[in-house]
Amino acid sequence: MAKTETKQPPRKAEHAAPAAMPEAAAPKRLFETLSGIPIKPLYTEADLPKDAATVGKPGEFPYTRGLHPEMYRTRLWTMRQFAGYGSAEHTNERFHYLLGHGMTGLSTAFDMPTLMGYDPDHPMSLGEVGREGVAVSTLADMDILFGGIPLDQVTTSMTINAPAIVLLAMYVVVAERRGITPDKLGGTIQADMLKEFIAQKEWICPPRPSVKICVDMIEWCAKNMPKWNSISISGYHIREAGATAAQELAFTLADGFGYVEECLKRGMDVDDFAPRLSFFWDVHNDFFEEIAKFRAGRRIWATIMRDKFHAKNPRSLQLRTHAQTAGVSLTAQQPLNNVARVALQALAAVLGGTQSLHTNSMDETLALPTEEAATVALRTQQIIAYESGVTETPDPLGGSYFVEALTDRIEQEAMQYIKRIDEMGGIIQAVERGYPQKEIADSAYKFQQQVERGERVIVGVNKFQTDEEITIPVLMIDPEIERKQIERTRAVRAKRDADKYAKAMTALRDACMSDKNLVPFVLDAVRAEATLGEISDVFREAYGVYREPAVF
């Protein structure tokens, strides 16, 4: 426990851990996965699943071994690097740069005000504009962001949640103005609000209206955007907040089943929307555990979609996923080491059978990535794809005693959580009670204590530290961006057709008071150049603002 004597401030705090550990008491070896699953000294045939059908073949139910019969022999995963900083111009430049270097899909990171539905001149936006991603407040910003990019040829992912309906509408209207109809657009909006309340904590309204808006998008996209993933049900943020692998799987799949139930309540046919539901996993450090997680996730989804929701279309049963290496595993100490961590994690995602991948940049614990760091991250994927040979046969680890046993174990742990959530009345109730939030916070604290006792080694942080300061270049964001973004947003408000704007906003307000699908109304508001903050304000007025109980 902490010493309380007055000491010099620990300037090199990072070099002090585990400070309180006496030499004699070596930390115990855990012999367990990163998530705490015990590992035996030996795995044999006896550890393989009793029923070989639960493993099956790639491209066949329950898809444990992957979604396609030949996996990466037919088509590599999409290399989709998340990018966004500063103004729309800056990010557009980075998009062109990454596409020029062989990136195969776009992925947009928005800044905090955009993510929370505030315009740049709102008091809450102070100091935040363009810092954590790109600022997009108006249709004009969106047009600049995708300038020179053929929207009918690339696929675009947007990491946007509470105001996803607005950004989706902006994307559709930008395309419309370029003569491209919504059915030609391919991509994904994250839009998964349940995981916001569980982990990422970016919201506008309380859970129920938030889920209602998600379902509006799923419904509208199912009819109008056949190539668009209307939601990316995300475990990434849940894991980053501290969840174990099984918790990540369980809470995310439970979110997915929650959306399915809400869609069914509206009278939609499961096979009309389920094929466009997509997922997003974190890939953490524990190599085999991560591979097992991907495999177990596909198996649970396929089984429950078939047996509980009676989906018939094979695509409704297939858990398609994007993956991102674990930002939380990267260290500010000796940042070059992060390249090795990212490479191992990326390899696990590929061996787990991901459809799409983002590799983190080595400098992400220090700032947003520089161009050089982002390039190394992309090259890491290309080395796995073109040099390592792991793409030559699907699921090369299938049948491994250890990997199959771990897959079963993670499936069992996740299913226990899913059952518990069902008993609570479903995921929305569980989230309102703070159940997943508390489980995650407990796991995070347990992990930190293990690190501080030295039971978990983090190279360069609590072992193999150096006194030498290792520095790498970091990206600086110009504070001028905030001022310019405010000017541009105000100019849009001043120039637009006031009557058209007022009409569209009144119609949107009225629609919020009904149970109509909001997408067409938001599209009209965007066409009338309503800003992101103004549309979000309509939601705030109609549905209220969410405040999380402050517990730890």
């Binding site: 426990m1 902490a2 010493k3 309380t4 004597e5 007055t6 000491k7 010099q8 401030p9 620990p10 300037r11 705090a13 990072e14 002090a16 851990a17 400070a19 309180a20 905090m112 005000p113 993510l115 929370m116 505030y118 008091p123 809450m124 936006s125 102070l126 100091g127 935040e128 810092r131 954590e132 916001e196 990422q200 904590k201 970016e202 980053e240 907040a241 501290g242 939380v328 260290t331 500010a332 614990t365 220090l366 700032a367 947003l368 916070a441 995070a444 604290y445 930190q448 690190v451 501080e452 983090i458 942080v461 609590n462 970091v474 964001i477 405040r547 999380e548 402050a550 517990v551 730890f552």
Partner: protein, 138 residues
């Protein structure tokens, strides 16, 4: 002697609360009285809570890059409200240069990723003991 009271705050729009909660739990286990503000607080809300709760230290967690705006604003408000004898410390994704710049303005030590919670606890305990002593002496 009363227990050390710390306000753990999340300023601005940043929703990354893993670190703040882990640090708050560790402080509680170390015997501090911890008040956690919850998310999305303005500098005004944080300083008001610090005054009401009569804390020894305010520990802000900022991972959104807005630290150069939010720390100075909180410090300014603390002076306005007459609680300049309260420590303002914190952590997040903050470069060494920015830490030094904030320190020169009167912010206390700031802690980056990988810091053991024990280091933060020792720093706050040490600071509070020293400053309570000097207050008594004054």
């Amino acid at each position: 002697m009363r227990k050390i009271r710390v306000l753990v705050g999340k300023a601005g729009l940043d929703g990354h609360d893993r670190g703040a909660k882990v640090v708050a739990s560790a402080m509680r286990d170390a015997g501090f009285e911890v008040i956690y503000t919850g998310l999305h607080q303005t500098p005004e809300m944080i300083v008001q809570a610090a005054v009401q709760e009569d804390v020894d230290a305010v520990a802000l967690s900022i991972l959104s890059g807005a630290h150069m705006t939010l720390f100075p604003r909180v410090l300014e408000l603390m002076k306005e409200k007459g609680i300049q004898d309260v420590l303002l410390t914190g952590g997040g994704i903050i470069s060494k240069e920015d830490m030094a710049a904030l320190k020169s303005k009167g912010v206390g030590d700031l802690f980056g990723p990988g810091t053991p919670t024990t280091a933060i606890i020792e720093y706050i305990s040490g600071w509070v003991k020293q400053h309570r002593r000097s207050k008594v002496g004054a």
